[in-house]
Symmetry: C2
Subunit: 203 residues, 2 copies
DNA sequence: CTAGAATGTTAACGGCGCTCACATTAGCTC
DNA sequence: GAGCTAATGTGAGCGCCGTTAACATTCTAG
């Protein structure tokens, strides 16, 4: 018998709402997250979550924060501490795959008009930023770390969104991986050739 | 007296809905587009738009398509036919500024789970894709045009979204422009293995 | 002129976010 | 343990939303 049930008080509804929300996001591919659905899933009345989350935005921010942590895990799993462009590329592929495998979560993390002053959320994104900057500084030691980190994040983030929106074909994971790799490679090799804009060098 | 009013039939409700939607998007910075609000703005009953749009998605797609056209105009205004990295950068800045000046529209264009098979929408994005590839092929003649076009679009698109979501500071337009420029230059001057990163672009 | 297509209105359904009054319980104090 | 208080749940209800169905008005073709 589950000790957390059959009682008027739920036990830990706050956490239960969070995992219910995660479940719903995994199941229903693209539909928006509804507080009432979360309450239903948690086996609780529609008003109950409001004891733990000020409003829908608060729940969404908590979900997003959790999403950032899971994304960080996923990236670290792709490569613990990349130090070459190839390794960085594998991290980039992992980023895009995360977005494609969990589109609803990714959209909540980045797609919604967000609450800037939610501390949990900003803290989680700050962690991602830091992690990324560290990696970039290691892979490209002789560049402006901040600008380079911004650029790579934006590049990868943009690739994720364009695939997510169907602007780029995302039918098979390997095709996506190839495209991401090709895009990064193209950008990184652009300079050596176009150091002077008018110089057309043989490839 | 306005000839288009005071009659039972509206005249051109389809177009009126579109422009009403645009107005609402400009006014209410970030709130979602509601079909009922559009109907109110057009001075018509809540059910009337359904004679011209199958559902909310259809209206949203039409708005998005119009947004793509306006974005294309805006990019062309930044530079009619860029052929150097600097000129391309100015187009990139225009892209990000468009996103920041019209966040609600931009979110509708890219942020919503979109209807892949809406022809108007796909046609408009195809136009953007083509335009971009053409530019990129001109600026970087000796690279794989498709990969490079994908990469630059993703980079710029990612920059736009990260600013939009507050992941990057977007308080002043000039700061944004500087960051975009710096990011692009950082990427273009980053050479992985072949070392020399200091070969910056001719200014 | 008239029939029917096109385009509008009104009313209604269910789902949503959210609030308020109320019920139940947990935990602290004595 | 008994009793008070705060925390946490329920239920009813508000207004908004998307959407549909039945009905009204107007345009247009024959």
């Amino acid at each position: 018998m589950p000790s957390t049930k059959a009682t008027y008080h739920h036990g830990d509804l706050r956490a239960a709402c969070l995992s219910a929300a995660m479940e719903l996001l995994e199941e229903s591919g693209e539909t928006a997250l509804s507080l009432r659905a979360v309450a239903r899933r948690a086996g609780v009345s529609p008003a109950a979550p409001y004891r733990h989350y000020a409003d829908r935005e608060a729940l969404v921010s908590a979900v997003a924060a959790l999403g950032y942590r899971e994304l960080a895990q996923r990236l670290a799993a792709a490569h613990p501490s990349p130090s070459t462009p190839e390794q960085l590329t594998s991290v980039a592929v992992a980023y895009v795959q995360f977005a494609l495998e969990r589109p609803a979560l990714f959209r909540i993390m980045f797609g919604e008009p967000c609450n800037r002053d939610n501390e949990e959320r900003t803290a989680a994104t700050a962690a991602v930023t830091l992690y990324l900057r560290e990696i970039v500084a290691r892979v490209f030691p002789d560049t402006d770390a901040e600008a380079m980190a911004t650029a790579t994040w934006a590049l990868v983030h943009g690739l994720a969104f364009l695939h997510l929106d169907g602007k780029l074909d995302a039918s098979t994971p390997s095709a996506v991986a190839d495209r991401v790799t090709a895009a990064i490679h193209a950008l990184l090799s652009a300079t050596s050739h176009s150091g002077r804009a008018s110089a057309v060098l043989p490839s």
